[in-house]
């Protein structure tokens, strides 16, 4: 392109300001995101202006109201047909409001609501100097074990900033599966990642581990998002646009007017293949698929357990949503190239997650490896490249996320003097000491294992059926084998809880407030309902399985 042509671009900006059309923003369709962002900003203001004593209640109230209002907005949009007939692209092509978007946004908001209950739990830790405390550090900036920290604990400080942080993370997650251009994808990724890095560092107990987890998560997360951004740059170079539909046209070769530069870059498959691979890398990192899974166990173990539950559930939902949209809307023309790669990723993810989990001795690490294995199962549905594949992935995500939050909520209950007792040996005989908690945890483990009459079975069945019909029979066989391997260690934990003698100095099960109890009850209810009568929700996911272009 000649220099004068570039200058002509600049002169458009030099024209009178009145000539620039204001962008057309559909505030109604964006309401779920806007409500959450607004509440998050308001939460920051509350931190600044509300007296410390009242902050916890104010923040909790604001967060819950915002999540409920946003969920109501999602339901409102879905019932007025934005999931099906009215689905379309809004905000000048930046956001797609369609079935998968609304389904995943609704799921993320419900997960967020349940997680916020576990965040707000203040009865598990013993009272410090007469103040009720939650799972978060008294003061994140205070050095662990220092006088400053003791003073903060004595003064009864709590980190109520976690509520605005989690709202910002949720806002990013709502945009992530809806992103309809590569810029929005990248920004949404950062908006939900940055608050999560901070949340990881804020554990009240075992602070060194928590800080270590945050550093690892942050450095690897920033590394992977740099890869994603370079992929964005290469795809932009290939197609001359960052819009999903625009790139898809160039990839498919159906684009009408091709200028000489575009013809040149279009012919360069290196840009397309490396660019797509790097973007996939960034997304698979967030999903926790195997070559990019190294952070998962450490971060899940070190982060405060409520945060772990939230991360494990909501990040997966958002990242799989973005992955689905990228593969099904932008790169369907490239599927003969990405399918073999995703096959490989899915196979090693399932097998490695299931096999390494067997060797784990820490319950949080065990659940982390189990989440890696589950990422592999969901990838099998992604590979199906069919509407059934989309709907089964949506269903699986919904079913899996509530079980995850419930399971991590149970982990917060089992405690000894040092805080949560996460070592597996301490869980021995839990079933004799507190049968209810152990039974509930057993239900979650059975759902993870995919035993019939739990949501895990319905989800796995849907995913594997879609994969088999999509021509991935071998993948399904490997999936079933790794489910069997995974079932082994889930059952082992159940056996440990119910059929071994409790140790005299074993942990106690703390009596939680109704907040955590609600989270666990919701987990159990979803597990059982989606396991016994999944059809309504499968239909719902089926109706929501068409992407707008």
């Amino acid at each position: 392109m000649s220099a004068s042509a570039v200058h002509s671009l600049w002169t458009t900006a030099a024209e009178p300001i009145g000539k620039i059309d204001a962008p057309h923003i559909e505030y109604g369709q964006l309401a779920p995101v806007l409500i959450i962002v607004g509440a998050a900003v308001l939460g920051i203001l509350l931190e600044a202006f509300v007296p410390r004593r009242a902050r916890y209640h104010a923040q909790l109230f604001l967060t819950v109201v915002a999540l409920v209002a946003s969920f109501a907005a999602v339901v409102g949009l879905a019932t007025s047909g934005y999931a099906t007939t009215e689905a379309g692209i809004v905000a000048m092509g930046a956001i797609a409001v369609d079935g998968p978007t609304l389904f995943l946004q609704g799921t993320i908001l419900l997960i967020g609501l349940v997680s916020v209950f576990t965040f707000a739990e203040r009865r598990l830790d013993p009272e410090a100097h007469g103040n009720r405390v939650d799972s978060f550090a008294a003061q994140g900036a205070a050095v662990p074990g220092s006088e400053g920290e003791q003073a903060a604990v004595k003064a009864g400080f709590t980190t109520t900033e976690v509520f605005p942080l989690v709202l910002f993370a949720i806002a990013g997650m709502l945009v992530f599966p809806a992103a309809n251009d590569l810029l929005t994808l990248f920004i949404a990724l950062e908006v939900f990642s940055l608050p999560l890095y901070l949340l990881c560092a804020l554990a009240r107990r075992k602070r060194l581990m928590s800080q270590e987890a945050a550093v690892k998560y942050f450095l690897l997360g920033a590394f992977s998002s740099a890869f994603l951004l370079f992929g964005v740059a290469l795809l932009y170079g290939y197609a001359g646009t960052v819009n999903y539909a625009g790139i898809a046209e160039v990839v498919d070769g159906t684009i009408q007017d091709i200028d000489p530069v575009l013809a040149q870059t279009m012919g360069n498959d290196v840009l397309l293949l490396i660019g797509a691979a790097m973007i996939l890398m960034g997304l698979l990192f967030k999903v926790g698929a195997v070559p990019f899974h190294m952070w998962t166990p450490d971060v899940y173990q070190g982060a405060p357990t409520p945060v772990t539950g939230f991360m494990a559930a909501a990040t997966k939902v958002a990242a799989f949503g973005a992955l689905l949209r990228l593969l099904y809307v932008v790169l369907p023309g490239l599927r003969w190239d990405w399918r073999p790669v995703m096959w490989g990723v899915a196979i090693i993810t399932m097998l490695l997650g299931a096999i390494v989990a067997i060797t784990q001795t820490d319950i949080k690490r065990l659940l982390a490896y189990s989440s890696i294995a589950h990422a592999g199962f969901i990838l099998a549905g992604v590979i199906a490249t069919s509407p059934d594949g989309i709907s089964s992935v949506l269903f699986y995500l919904g079913a899996y996320s509530f079980v995850t939050i419930g399971a991590f909520a149970v982990v917060t209950l089992v405690r000894d003097a040092g805080g949560e007792a996460t070592h597996l040996s301490k869980w021995a005989g839990l079933g004799r000491r507190s049968p209810m908690v152990a039974a509930v945890f057993a239900v979650f483990l059975l759902a993870f294992a995919g035993i019939p009459l739990t949501s895990g079975f319905a989800g796995k069945f849907a995913v594997f059926k879609a994969a088999a019909e999509g021509g991935a029979g071998a993948l399904v066989i490997i999936g079933v084998i790794s489910s069997a391997i995974a079932a082994f260690f889930y059952i082992r934990v159940i056996v440990l809880m119910f059929f071994s003698e409790p140790k005299p100095e074993g942990p106690t099960v703390a009596v939680a407030s109704p907040l955590t109890m609600t989270a666990i009850a919701v987990g159990v209810a979803v597990t059982v309902v989606l396991g016994v009568a999944p059809q309504y929700f499968l239909d719902l996911a089926g109706q929501a399985s068409v992407f707008a272009r």
Binding site: M1, A222, F223, A226
Partner: protein, 99 residues
Amino acid sequence: MNPVNYLYLAALLFSIGATGVLIRRNAIVLFMCVELMLNACNLALVAFSRMHGNLDGQIIAFFTMVVAAAEVVVGLAIIVSLFRSRHSASVDDASLMKL
């Protein structure tokens, strides 16, 4: 000058950054290498923008700068808190959690 040369430079800078992340052990240096990778992305975006003659790439470069700034805020906060509790910013020392 042919803008393609800037793409080679961008790829080179990106590779230097990625190699740095993999071989250096100080969290701050690691983080600077990540910033180098982000800036390499910016260079590629601007070069592509020039080639295609539209402004998308330059707009993204602005967003990337803001994101990088936000990452510095969050990242340095986390790294400094780690440094203050361990008196070391080495990522090899931070190994409480291993299999």
